[in-house]
Amino acid sequence: MSSTIDSATTQAGKGARNLPWGLWAQQTLAILGLELRKNFLSRRALLIYVLAALPVFLLFLLAILPPDADEFRNISGLSVVFSIIYNTLILRAVVFFGCAWIFMNLFRGEVVDRSLHYYFLSPVRREVLVVGKYLSGLVTSIVLFGLTTLLSLFMLYFPRFSAESTRYFFEGAGGKQALIYLGITTLAVIGYGAIFLIVGLFFRNPIIPALLIYGWEWINFLLPPLLKKISVIHYLHSLMPVPLSEGPFAVMAEPTPAWLSVPSLLVFTLIVLALAGYHTRRMEISYVGD
């Protein structure tokens, strides 16, 4: 064959031997590019767009049909309202199920589409594949659900108190709160993303484990303090800028400080990703029964 082919292959080979990190970064970017395109432009993405737009749409309805409640009459009341909406709708529903859909499909979706072998037949370490796919899920989720968080804030505050809200967000405490909510969304995506990535790898039908995880996260407030710590939501709750009451039946526990909860989530994520890498290295493809 021609020298162009030989030289490119040799260059790639040399890259693998002398600069593996450079090659891995290049491969990760290649995977990231393709996966982002799939995540944003495939038919599967439609459901995520609907999910991400749901809170914004509901808050839009609230803006044009304002409820007659005290909480909606001042800025401080709205911060409590947003905390409730963020906790119950955005975090527990949109981010949770959005991450489930995006991250479980990273591998399971490819098995169903019978296209995973293209990755497995490329000169890419399977661990690099896991990282590339996970990063694509992160970027997709952070962009979509970060936008959901910001637009929901906008939709709640600005139609009611335009001038006050501008001051609140650009001069007062609102800006910091918005950043914290964004940070919580990002951490939720990192944690749930890792969990659902591995669920998609280990289970042929990942819906049932996803629902079990959902149940576990929902009953977190009833769990004894030690078990509370085996969840993502516990660490995220500890970071909320406007703390919420968990009701009369909640089992009280000391919130985990941010300096501990953030690294804990990151370490947990790294362990899960390492496990996912280990699993994919031994993974076989036959597509039979999928």
């Binding site: 064959m1 490119a8 260059q11 590019g33 019978r114 037949l121 490329s122 000169p123 370490r125 036959s286």
Partner: protein
């Protein structure tokens, strides 16, 4: 030199020679693969040299399993595989040497033919310029340059087959593994692709091709591995198989707009022993003892433009009988 030193030296030399040989061969050493309790392949010992080696056997005989084991898509239950000295467990090394055109007819959604190849090459670390050159050359080799910027989803079966082939050869592999590569191709494309395989083999590549069509194997192979129920029942030079094949008529299904007209034409040719209409009257089954000549006739029919041929596919119901015959007569060797 003491006896012990001499023995050690001899052992070292033997090991070095074995390693050297292994780096030049594709080696299966007592390889078995079970899917639970179901046998995939059992106790396979093979050493495959450069040239075209065909894995031949009926559906379910273990051809695809062997190919998937060679490329790490499956892990052997027992035994060891080495592809030019590299284990299939090391994809980062293996797929610099190996290209695999699998049978799975699926593609990344929304990709054009060119993007499909380019993405694969990016994982090799090819520069932008090399990427363009390699993609262009691969597309050219399979005659897909004109359709390269169309979405793969809109390709015909034959085009999808060719774009997969382009992807598998784009990085200039030393080993090319092809699972039923001629499926879905029209007669002219078949001839063209077989010519490409021969050319690649002449360049020193290892081509491992699976097929259950003995006539195709006969046309292109240097050696064959005959599989049956997961066992290698025979392996060796292809010429021994040829005589057996020629005695056995091959059945071909031609999908076209006017099968009756085609039937009239095919009986002009010697070797055609039977022609019957498909149930839906949109196709013709032809049995011939001279498939090569028959394919040439089909080429002429296409060129004449009297008929619109949609697809040509072997439909040999008697294939198992041929295998049985070959197996019972020492695999045709």
């Amino acid at each position: 030199m003491t006896t012990a030193t001499a023995a050690t030296t001899a052992a070292t030399t033997a090991t070095a020679a074995a390693t050297h040989t292994e780096e030049k061969m594709i080696v299966f050493e007592d390889v078995s693969k079970f899917y639970g309790e179901i046998l995939g392949v059992n106790r396979v010992n093979l050493s495959i040299a450069p040239g075209i080696t065909s894995l031949v056997g009926p559906n379910g005989s273990g051809k695809t399993t062997l190919m998937n084991l060679m490329t790490g898509l499956l892990k052997p239950t027992r035994g060891r595989i080495s592809v030019l000295g590299t284990s299939p467990d090391e994809p980062q090394e293996l797929f610099r040497k190996v290209g695999y055109c699998a049978q799975f007819d699926s593609f990344p959604r929304g990709a054009t033919g060119r993007e499909f190849i380019e993405f694969y090459l990016r994982t090799h670390g090819a520069s932008s310029r090399a990427l363009d050159n390699l993609t262009h050359q691969a597309l050219e080799r399979v005659s897909m340059l004109e359709a390269a910027d169309r979405k793969v989803a809109g390709y015909s079966k034959g085009m999808r087959q060719r774009i997969r082939l382009a992807q598998s050869i784009a990085h200039n592999p030393a080993v090319l593994i092809l699972d039923e590569p001629l499926n879905g191709l029209d007669p002219m494309a078949r001839a063209e692709i077989i010519r490409l395989f021969r050319q690649l083999a002449a360049e020193g590549l290892y081509l491992i091709i699976s097929s259950h069509i003995l006539h195709e194997v006969d046309m292109m192979s240097d050696s064959v591995v005959l599989l049956n129920n997961g066992y290698v029942v025979a392996e060796g030079n292809v010429h021994g198989v040829r005589d057996e094949i020629e005695e056995h008529p091959m059945q071909i299904l031609i999908r076209c707009d006017r099968p009756q007209a085609l039937a009239a034409r095919v009986f002009e040719q010697e070797g055609v022993v039977e022609a019957r209409l498909h149930e839906d009257r949109q196709g013709l089954f032809v049995k011939t003892r001279r498939p090569d000549e028959f394919y040439l006739l089909l080429n002429r029919v296409v060129l004449d433009g009297d008929l619109r041929i949609e697809s040509v596919a072997p439909a040999d119901d008697d294939l198992n009988a041929v295998y049985q015959y070959l197996i019972s007569s020492d695999g045709g060797r």
